[in-house]
């Protein structure tokens, strides 16, 4: 658990917050039409999660 002054976030929640904020910003900056933005945001968010969880699992054998 991440204990903070204003937030109490788990590692995964911090990861989700980061992925969501960056995906939305990339979507709005990189695409113009709303439909394209939504597709880009969802795809970017999915890739953030997939790569992050993938790297976490890849490091798991070396965590001890």
């Amino acid at each position: 658990m991440i204990a903070t002054n204003g937030f109490a976030l788990t590692h995964f929640q911090a990861f989700l917050l980061f992925a969501a904020v960056i995906s939305i910003a990339f979507g709005f900056l990189g695409r113009r039409r709303p439909k394209d933005r939504i597709k880009y945001i969802l795809w970017s968010f999915f890739l953030f999660l997939a790569v992050g969880i993938g790297i976490a699992w890849a490091m798991y054998p070396f965590s001890r």
Binding site: I2, A3, T4, N5, G6, F7, L9, H11, A14, L17, F18, V21, I22, I24, A25, F28, L29, R32
Partner: protein
């Protein structure tokens, strides 16, 4: 002597004032710097309201989260190259850098994971704002929208 008509070559395109390009370039630089100083302002000046709001909120949220998680807000008197890089990244948030320093009254605490995440959030906010300012600059030059 026969009348000779000297034909002048006609211009096919109307002449443009020579300083139009220079003026546009200066305006683009001003918009880029404004976008750096206040996240989203570069897009707001070009009436790109959606992008302006999203950039402002995204950078602001990352700065507030990073500072309240007690991430490291780097200063100019860093000890090594990584501190200098962190300082440059944090400066990317423009005026929000001062807000981050004001929010973090107790100083950084990177001995725990939350402080480490906070440091990353702050650096990401700076780099994201620099990217947005560059986007606003390019849009003002008419190269991207």
């Amino acid at each position: 002597m026969a009348d000779e008509v000297i034909q002048q070559p006609q211009q096919e395109t109307p002449a443009q004032p020579p300083d139009t390009g220079v003026r546009r370039e200066r305006l683009a630089w001003a918009i880029g710097i404004a976008g750096w100083l206040l996240p989203g302002l570069g897009h707001a000046l070009q009436r790109m309201w959606g992008r302006a709001v999203v950039v402002f909120l995204a950078v602001g949220l990352l700065v507030v989260a990073g500072a309240t998680m007690r991430g490291n807000v780097f200063s100019s008197n860093g000890g090594d190259a990584f501190d200098t890089l962190g300082y440059i990244a944090d400066l990317g948030t423009g005026s929000f850098y001062l807000a981050a320093r004001a929010l973090e009254r107790d100083g950084a605490d990177v001995s725990h994971a939350d402080g480490d995440y906070g440091t990353r959030f702050l650096a990401t906010a700076g780099v994201l704002n620099l990217l947005a300012a560059l986007h606003a600059y390019e849009a003002a030059r008419g190269r991207k929208a």
